[in-house]
């Protein structure tokens, strides 16, 4: 029987060892390069996994729930485009007409059973379903600006603003230190804190925050930010949640409002001028920038997470149709990456019942 491997008998022992070393170097080099690209050699770098780990450390793990924006309820409806933005973007979203949408209202933070409170960040996520099968997904919040410029600051902020386990409240010294070290946050926080807080989910605007690029038929790029502006008249909220109300009172109010009548928002596009920064979500563009009313988002029906496909949907803001492209804002890639980790983790977990269900309202 032949031996498993034959060695060229003319090779001397040093030559053989040298050749073996060359093979080892090539294979070892390939493995090292792979491990380096995978980030295994520098475990202290901030990655999408460590960002989601930080959420889990701060808020705990609630199996099956989003690691951020954990408490929410879903909806169905449509977007009625008026055609006003068709010259700016070649996307079918902006042709005159109606397309179905699916979406979700939620609170910022990783606590799925947290009690509703006026100051908690409210969010609106929407999936626009284009007739040709393309999709536009966007996740917006009711803050006029974002408190940080990039994901490094975001991760630091998560830790700095986390409640102290001893007091249950954030440590003011840590917040102060973070704000002092980040002038962009120092500029943004007053705008966030002074925003008018509305009585519910239905009478608040939701801001896209990041800049995007609209591409016309000829490929002409326009920097754009968008805001969903409510048609429902603004009603101010008391500073704290009324003690007599249910812990889901804001969600219950939304469900009741949609049951009474479809709730509507106008999609307002703000067009950037050359020189307007597109890579900084902590600032807005000057007030005199042209605005276009592109159409109306109509929320027709609220659905519990248990039955809506929107529960198992990743509202990754980089899922865009042809005609809308990302800008140079570093938050966009970071959001896409971290949402993906949160999605992958929760999809593999057993689903616990959500706090908000449509059946529960009216009690």
């Amino acid at each position: 029987m032949k031996p498993f491997l034959t060695i060229d008998p003319t090779l001397t022992r040093p030559a053989l060892l040298l050749r073996l070393a060359v093979i080892g170097l090539i294979l070892g080099g390939a493995v090292t390069l792979f491990a380096w690209r995978a980030g295994w050699l520098n475990p202290h770098t901030l990655t999408q996994k460590t960002v989601i780990d930080t959420f889990e450390k701060v808020d705990g793990v609630f199996p099956g729930f989003r690691r951020n924006h954990a408490k929410g309820v879903c909806f169905r409806g449509y977007f009625e485009s008026n055609g006003n933005a068709a010259a700016l973007s070649r996307s079918g979203v902006f042709l005159p007409g109606r397309i179905p949408v699916l979406g979700r209202f939620s609170f910022g933070g990783g606590l799925p059973y947290v009690a509703d409170a006026p100051a908690t960040v409210r969010a609106l996520a929407v999936q626009f379903q284009l007739p040709n099968g393309e999709e536009w997904r966007t996740a917006m919040i009711n803050l006029p600006v974002f408190p940080v410029q990039n994901v490094q600051q975001f991760a630091e902020q998560l830790v700095a603003f986390a409640p102290d386990p001893a007091t249950g409240k954030p440590d003011p010294a840590k917040i102060q230190a973070f704000v002092a070290a980040h002038p962009a946050t120092a500029r943004a926080l007053p705008l966030i804190q002074q925003r008018p807080i509305s009585s519910g989910f239905a009478d608040t605007p939701y801001y896209g925050l990041n800049a995007f690029t609209f591409l016309g038929k000829d490929g002409k790029p326009t920097p754009v930010r968008w805001t969903m502006v409510p048609e429902q008249p603004f009603q101010p909220s008391p500073a704290t949640a009324p003690a007599t109300l249910d812990k889901n009172y804001l969600f219950d109010g939304l469900i009741a409002a949609v049951r009474a009548a479809p709730q509507k928002w106008r999609l307002i596009l703000t067009l950037g001028q050359p020189g307007d920064p597109t890579n900084d979500a902590t600032i807005t563009w000057p007030d005199d920038r042209p605005k276009i009313d592109a159409g109306t988002l109509v929320v027709e029906q609220i659905e519990s997470e248990a039955v809506s496909p929107a529960r198992d949907m990743n509202f990754d803001p980089t899922i865009l149709p042809d005609g809308i492209a990302v800008s140079d804002d570093p938050l966009l890639s970071a959001r896409s990456a971290t949402y993906s980790v949160s999605f992958t983790r929760r999809e593999g977990e057993r689903k616990e019942p959500s706090a908000v269900t449509t059946a529960e309202t009216g009690k």
Binding site: K2, L27, I319
Partner: protein, 193 residues
């Protein structure tokens, strides 16, 4: 028809081999880099999807080509056990080249993602949206990608061993340029299975 045993793989087989070698290695490095990169995630994913589908198409073409073309014999220096291992690892490589893109496609379908190639061009879902199915396929995609990388390393290691230590000019069979046979084939050489 040419009845002499080949000394090299058919020219289209060699072209496919090297083209796909470059694509698959690029794909493995993009894949492993994107899941740990916040800054580059978006554009790496944007390349990963269409490149995966291109690999799937080429892998199917290659499988058909593999069934239709005659293969050069194994070098006489390969023992029967080594030949069996080489044949099995070839089957594994083909299986992974086809399975990985299909799992990626199925995983995005199960995760309710649009399967965007470029611009408005996208593929239809091949599986229903389902959370646990997504999670299983997502995990399988990673595990099988590591297995593919390991199998490629073993393949490269074996070829290097033969080239540098057995010195049987095994690489000539896959060289892109024509290589003339050095000496008559070993009498016990049979076409590879």
């Amino acid at each position: 028809m040419d009845t002499k045993p080949r000394t090299q793989f058919a020219i289209q087989s060699r072209l496919l081999h090297w083209l796909m070698a470059v694509m698959i290695l690029a794909m493995l490095f993009i894949g492993v880099a994107m899941v740990s990169s916040l800054a580059d995630y978006r554009w790496l994913v944007a390349i990963h999807r269409p490149l995966g589908i291109a690999i799937l198409i080429l892998a199917i073409i290659r499988l058909i080509n593999r069934k239709l073309t005659k293969l050069p014999p194994f070098p006489p220096t390969m023992s029967p056990l080594e030949r069996r291992i080489a044949s099995s690892s070839e089957k594994l490589l083909y299986a992974l080249m086809i399975a990985l893109p299909l799992i990626g496609w199925g995983m995005l379908s199960a995760g309710h993602y649009p399967i965007v190639m470029f611009g408005a061009v996208h593929l239809p879902p091949i599986l229903p949206a389902h959370p646990m199915l997504f999670a299983i396929l997502r995990a399988a995609h990673t595990v099988l990608a590591y297995l593919l990388f390991a199998t490629i390393l073993a393949h490269v290691g074996a070829v290097l061993f033969h080239t540098l230590i057995v010195r049987d000019r095994i690489l000539d069979r896959m060289a892109l340029w024509p290589v003339r046979r050095q000496k008559a084939a070993d009498p016990d050489t049979k076409p590879a299975e």
